[in-house]
């Protein structure tokens, strides 16, 4: 590991990183706009300039070079000496900030970026209290660059991160810089709006309030949001995300840095895919049918009632007539608890992995520029070479649930075989777990379930199965549960509960915990420890690094 000297302090850093990255990782607060570790380096913002010791051309002795060098473009070399804490560097920063704020409208009160804005932070830390600008500021109206994004051009600092993102990561290159000098602007080409499926990321990487999310626009101030570490349930990639919530509501999702899984990015499908959490049609109450009556039992009695029902069926018709469908939307812990419960009732009960929805094919990025316009054409790289992949499998945990069912052994059926068998009247009781945000119940399943004596429906949204169900348990959305998902590569990624369960409901984990005979509060970690004794793959979880690799 190379050792470099910053401001007189020797630090060790990673090989082949820019000095800026090394300084940020060592705890220096170096201002920067254009540098982003996931994008190419342009060194255009000039905020991160530093002083460096270089050999004097005449005497060949090391001395502070009179010219400042950009720290983002200077790779670390063993023994190099640089400084950020010098009058020259400070002066450069304050002059740069003065230029940045020349035409800035200073509309922080109405700007959504306020609170997480690097113009605010840097002008507070490194800028000047007053502006010498006497001429009227250039007004530049906001531009509708895409269906999900506004561009407030007068707040832009021309760091071109968004342009580079579209060119390098999405590969669709919709954004460009038009004009030059102080008239430079970010814009889209006529007739080709910003419509790639990763466009939400340009809002994240914009260090100021120039690119804003239409979905989140003016809804909340960012300092009122609390972020909970989570994993996106949208597809089998399992991007690390933060759920930003307030007043029991999700307001937005943001990606977290998770090297090797999603790096810094996430797709729009996942980003805006949380709306079903607040769907008014959601099932929030448990129901058990007794004859023609629908009872709404207390959560305390539900485990006993259900255990009694399943036991009675096991004794009257045999354990082989009991089946459970474990949905790929369940967390590993919940699936394991459910499997344990069912197998505890009858060791010969059948376990089934629920249907994993697949939509189209994997979408790989970057798409090449030649693929045209909105990147829906060819030119996508193979999945193993891609910088970002949106998986076709639109569920988070198929692999985890499959692994659990496999490890439990005993009778197993595929979902199609299960429908067949149920249609022939082989089952007297079936636990059907759903939890999919999209309608998933199809006619064959409904017909087959008509032949099953006791159907327990465990789902999030109402479906055609609801009238058939002898008992209904509400499923919580992923943001209301805690647990872990196993992604397509087999990484077990834990997520925390951001929201309380909807009124009347209880967390799936909690009642499954009680059903499987445990007493007390469900905690995913405890359950994982129990699972790990049988399945060592759940002993190790993959967590995204707590401190991001870069400052912002």
């Amino acid at each position: 590991m190379p050792r470099i000297i910053i401001d007189g302090q020797t630090i060790e850093c990673r090989e082949r990183v820019p000095v800026l990255q090394a300084a940020l990782e060592a705890g220096w607060d170096v201002p920067h706009y254009c540098y982003h570790p996931g994008l190419s380096i342009v060194a255009s913002c000039r905020l991160c300039l530093m002083e460096m010791k270089m050999p004097d051309p005449k005497t060949k002795e090391l001395a502070w070079s009179p010219k400042l060098v950009p720290s983002c473009q200077t790779p670390v070399r063993d023994g190099m000496e640089v400084r950020f804490d010098s009058p020259l560097v400070r002066e450069n920063r304050s002059h740069c900030m003065e230029y940045y704020l020349l035409n800035h409208p200073l509309d922080c009160p109405v700007c959504d970026q306020a609170g997480e804005c690097y113009l605010q932070d840097y002008s507070y830390n490194f800028g000047n209290a007053t502006s010498r600008m006497v001429d009227p500021k250039t007004k530049n109206p906001k531009k509708d660059v895409g269906s999900k994004t506004w561009l407030y051009q007068d707040r832009c600092v021309m760091c071109t991160r968004c342009v580079r993102f579209c060119a390098e990561v999405a590969g669709t290159a919709e954004l460009c810089v038009t004009n030059r000098g102080n008239r430079a602007e970010i814009d889209v080409f006529p007739g080709i709006p910003l419509e790639n499926p990763l466009q939400g990321n340009v809002v994240d990487i914009c260090p100021v309030g120039a690119l804003l999310d239409k979905d989140f626009l003016m809804r909340q101030r960012v300092w009122m949001l609390r972020s909970t570490d989570s994993v996106c349930p949208g597809c089998s990639t399992g991007c690390a995300i933060g759920v930003d919530h307030n007043e029991g509501r999700i307001w937005r999702l943001k990606p977290r840095f998770n090297p090797g899984v999603n790096d810094w990015w996430m797709c729009d499908e996942g980003r805006f895919g949380w709306k079903y959490v607040h769907d008014p049609r959601r099932i929030t109450r448990a129901m058990i049918r007794r004859g023609a009556d629908e009872e709404r039992p207390d959560w305390q009695e539900i485990p006993d009632v259900l255990r009694f029902r399943f036991r009675a069926i096991e004794q009257q018709q045999g354990g082989k007539t009991i089946a459970a469908v474990l949905s790929p939307f369940m967390a590993c812990e919940e699936a394991w608890l459910l499997a344990k419960f069912i197998r505890g009732i009858a060791s010969e009960a059948t376990l089934v992995v629920g249907p994993a929805p697949v939509v189209g094919g994997d979408q790989c990025f970057p798409r090449t520029h030649s693929s045209g316009g909105n990147g829906n054409g060819d030119g996508a790289p193979p999945a193993d070479k891609a910088r970002f992949v949106i998986r076709a499998e639109k569920c988070p945990n198929r692999r985890g649930v499959e692994r659990i069912v496999e490890r439990m052994g005993g009778a197993r059926l595929s979902f199609a075989e299960f429908i067949d068998a149920a249609g022939k009247g082989q089952f007297a009781a079936a636990w059907i777990s759903g939890g999919s945000p999209t309608p998933w119940v199809e006619k064959p399943l409904v017909q087959a379930m008509g032949k099953v004596g006791f159907v327990l429906l465990h789902d999030i949204l109402p479906s055609d199965l609801l009238p058939l169900a002898g008992a209904v348990l509400p499923a919580c959305a992923w943001a209301e549960r805690e647990g872990s998902f196993m992604n397509h590569t087999g990484l077990v990624q834990p997520f925390e509960a951001a929201l309380p369960p909807p009124e009347g409901a209880q967390r799936d984990g909690q009642y499954l915990y009680a059903l499987s005979g445990q007493v007390g509060l469900y905690r995913a970690e405890t359950v994982r420890a129990m699972m790990a004794q049988e399945m060592p793959e759940f002993a190790q979880v993959h967590e995204a690094p707590a401190a991001a690799e870069h400052a912002h």
């Binding site: 509309d107 922080c108 009160p109 109405v110 306020a114 003016m218 101030r221 009122m224």
Partner: protein, 180 residues
């Protein structure tokens, strides 16, 4: 959760010892002396009591912190820009705002909903201080009644009406700041 406390983190402070007079409860006489002084001087007492509502105190309209109002700009629109600064500053959490895109071309953002729970409010005036456009102000108005709690949650229309009713008593503080 949290940090692990060590024995050395705890500072034990003993109460000061009482002296002889304190043990005999003598300092109470000090207080009684003040009470007695008020009892025996009717002139003083008379000055204290205001026969409300027949009599009303003269208020300093500039500084009195009574019911809130939402100021209007020069075109009669709500001056608030929906920046949530008052909601952020409010120690009683009595302000609730929902912001949205303004329907006017010259303004970016405005409050779709603006509610103050006047029963929850502690009338500290922090909202007034926090407001970057001087849109929210406290008025000298203090006698307000309502038949229910929900009636005492003042919405945007009501707060604007308070402005219309009080703008002659207390004009808008500083329209120069806002530019309109």
């Amino acid at each position: 959760m949290g940090r692990n406390w060590k024995e050395t983190d705890v500072l034990v402070v003993d109460q000061p010892e009482l002296n002889m007079a304190e043990r005999l409860y003598l300092p109470i006489l000090d207080g009684l002396r003040v009470t007695l002084k008020h009892v025996v001087s009717p002139g003083r007492r008379k000055r204290m009591v205001v026969q409300y509502p027949e009599q009303q105190r003269v208020l300093r309209t500039e500084t009195y912190r009574g019911v809130h109002r939402l100021n209007r700009d020069e075109q009669g629109r709500v001056a608030c820009t929906g920046c949530f600064m008052c909601e952020t500053a409010c120690p009683a959490h009595c302000i609730h705002i929902e912001a949205g895109e303004a329907p006017w071309p010259d303004r970016e953002k405005y409050p779709i909903k603006f509610e103050i729970d006047e029963l929850r409010c502690i009338y500290c005036g922090m909202c007034e201080e926090a407001c970057p456009v001087d849109a929210i102000e406290l008025t000298p108005e203090y006698d307000m009644v309502g038949r229910s709690r929900s009636e005492m949650v003042f919405d945007k229309e009501k707060l604007l009406a308070v402005f219309d009713a009080t703008k002659n008593v207390k004009p808008r503080k500083n329209p120069a700041i806002t530019g309109y």
